[in-house]
Amino acid sequence: MDWSQVLQWGFVIALVTAGIRLAVPVLLAVLGEIITERSGILNLGLEGIMIVGAAGGFMTAYYLETGPLAGLAGSWSAWLGLGAGMLAGMAMGLLMAVLSITLHVDQVIAGVTLVLFGHGLADYFYRLQFSSLTARVTGLEQISIPLLSDIPVLGELLFRYDPTVYLTVFLVFLTWFFLFHTTWGLNIRSIGEHPAATETSGINVNLGRYAATLIGAGLAGLGGATLTVVQLGLFREGITAGRGWIAVALVIFARWRPGLALVGALLFGLADALQFRIQALSQVERGVGTLPYEFLLMLPYLLTLIALLYRRGRRDAPAALGIPYTQDSH
């Protein structure tokens, strides 16, 4: 492979824009999980929630585009698909909340089982509806922000995306503002640090944890739906490819902070984009010495491991993370 191609300007722009897009689904899940974990609930079910959101969102969008209601929703079908993915994610989140908050099931066990449940459920319903694997949806159109998108280089890099990209950036800000500058955010954080003390000050710990878990799962479901409805336009078994688990790792990497989550997700997105691009280049000139694509596909997973090594342990984690709370225990 000719590495000088990698260093060309056009390649870099294509890489960065693809990286930003690929960061979106995982970043949505990371933001959600930050809110959930800040309340003290470790929701390891993200991968299962994302795949259910991905399947639910895709199937909804597909039926609105082609079913008996075709045309009725018009260009809104993708948006409704995203909403359906979010709701599907919240339904899964409710299951996690009942198990971990009300029933005090070990959160690790509940989360891992939820992932397997999500995979089974998503595959079942998808294969039930689609016998062939050719179903596609059209997704959302790119919005070029007037004037700004005309700036050379910068316009191309930052202002020509589909709306979910802008929405996600806004959500990073919103999550930060919510957690650190609103009373509700403060309450959620203190529930995650000192649930018993928070309860004494008149705040319902379990209610707060339910809310945080549902919001988190909704965002993860939205992330999954963004992947299938907006970015790929299709669904496959295991399409989330570990993004839910990577999101769990990125929460640790981001030290439970939305701003750092943006950085982590972008790193992940760039690694993902890089492996796609190098694959595409390698295919053009299948010479000797090209890296096998399997090793390129390993890149995001290796990067995740490195990110975990970089931020070791539970420093900065909410003090009550993963510990069930009993209201009458004091």
């Binding site: 509940a110 790792a249 997973y301």
Partner: protein, 355 residues
């Protein structure tokens, strides 16, 4: 002691024994019922006939000696993975990298099988199995070392190692190990000497017997050795264990190695007997289903054995159900997870009522 008192004590004992039995068996039984009820709802949502679908499933899994053989063959790897994970989960080490350890075990075993086809059969088979064990062991210990040295959560690291191992095997199967002159992403077929012997004039192979023997071994390890006692202590209260001088670090490494070894063994057995060659996709999710098997089996070797049969029956039966009713066989995956989720919930409710 009067006779009345003795009787009272005896009835008390039977009562508590009954209660213990109920506590052990109740949740899985209730969980299984809930699992099949929800499965029935999923079948109804698909507009299919529940009775027809479940009958097909039952017949497919247990309808005759051929079906029972298939179920047993599917149960063996589930049992091995479930046993390995039982030891890890007992020490509260969450190895969810079974899938990767299965693949690496199969890979190392396959490399041996493909490179030394002339070795005498007993030697070749033992080295293959050993290679599978060592492969799975080392792959799991990577995550163990990362945990004790750098505090990296084994949950995420073992999961990342899953994806890496699967990609590695996919590369090997279409690259260096591909059948010479072949087009498919798979190795050449193993020589007959590299396949585990079959028993009782059937397709049941020696690996099944090995899995059954390991039920007793794991039971002995957990409840009849000081090591097992220490592991369980690390799992139930690690601070106490530390105080009593048990090295939590060594325990983590041990259970990682042990579980990875058993799972790697499952990998090479599956490849040696069922596929007889290395392929890009060799597992069908044993590493993940094994997690559910360990949980449903209540992390007890006997329970895990029963759970592995049930799950194998679900997997094999769902294939017949797919043919008869046209339902996707991923219904089996959903039912398996619902069963375990229900067991978790029932367990939690039971614990609540006790308080």
């Amino acid at each position: 002691m009067t006779q009345e008192q003795t009787e009272a004590i005896n009835t008390g004992q039977t009562e508590s024994r009954n209660r213990a039995l109920w506590r052990a068996l109740g949740p899985p039984v209730i969980g299984a019922v809930i699992g099949f009820v929800i499965g029935a709802l999923l079948i109804l949502m698909a507009g299919a006939n529940v009775q027809e679908a479940y009958t097909a499933m039952l017949r497919g899994a247990f309808g005759g000696s051929r079906q029972i053989t298939e179920t047993v063959l599917k149960a063996a790897p589930l049992l091995l993975v479930g046993l390995g994970l039982t030891v890890a989960f007992r020490a509260r080490v969450w190895n969810i990298g079974g899938e990767g350890q299965f693949f690496v075990g199969a890979l190392i075993g396959a490399v041996i099988a493909l490179n030394f086809p002339d070795w005498p059969r007993p030697l070749l088979l033992s080295i293959m199995l050993l290679g599978g064990v060592v492969g799975g062991m080392l792959w799991a210990m990577l995550a163990g070392v990362m945990k004790i040295k750098w505090g990296v959560s084994e949950i995420i690291s073992t999961l990342m190692f899953n994806y890496i191992a699967i990609l590695l095997v996919q590369y090997m199967a279409r690259g260096p190990l591909q059948e010479p002159g072949g087009y498919l992403p798979q190795s050449a077929q193993f020589v007959p000497e590299a396949r585990l012997p079959l028993l009782f004039d059937s397709r049941i192979h020696a690996g099944v017997i090995l899995a059954v023997i390991l039920v007793a071994v794991v039971y002995g390890l957990l409840w009849a050795t000081p090591l097992g006692f220490r592991l369980r202590m690390v799992g139930s209260r690690s601070s106490v264990a530390r105080y009593a001088g048990v090295s939590v670090e060594k325990s983590i490494l041990f259970v990682m190695a042990f579980s990875g070894g058993l799972i790697g063994l499952a990998g090479i057995i599956e490849v040696s007997t069922q596929l007889t060659r290395l392929k890009g996709d060799i597992s069908g999710g044993f590493g993940f289903a094994g997690i559910l098997v360990a949980l449903l089996g209540r992390m007890h070797p006997l329970g895990v054995a029963i759970a592995s049969i049930l799950f194998a029956a679900l997997i094999i039966g769902s294939e017949s159900m797919h043919v008869v009713s046209g339902l996707p066989n991923s219904l089996a995956d959903a039912i398996q997870a619902v069963i375990v989720l229900s067991v978790l919930a029932v367990d939690a409710l039971a614990r609540r009522r006790q308080k």
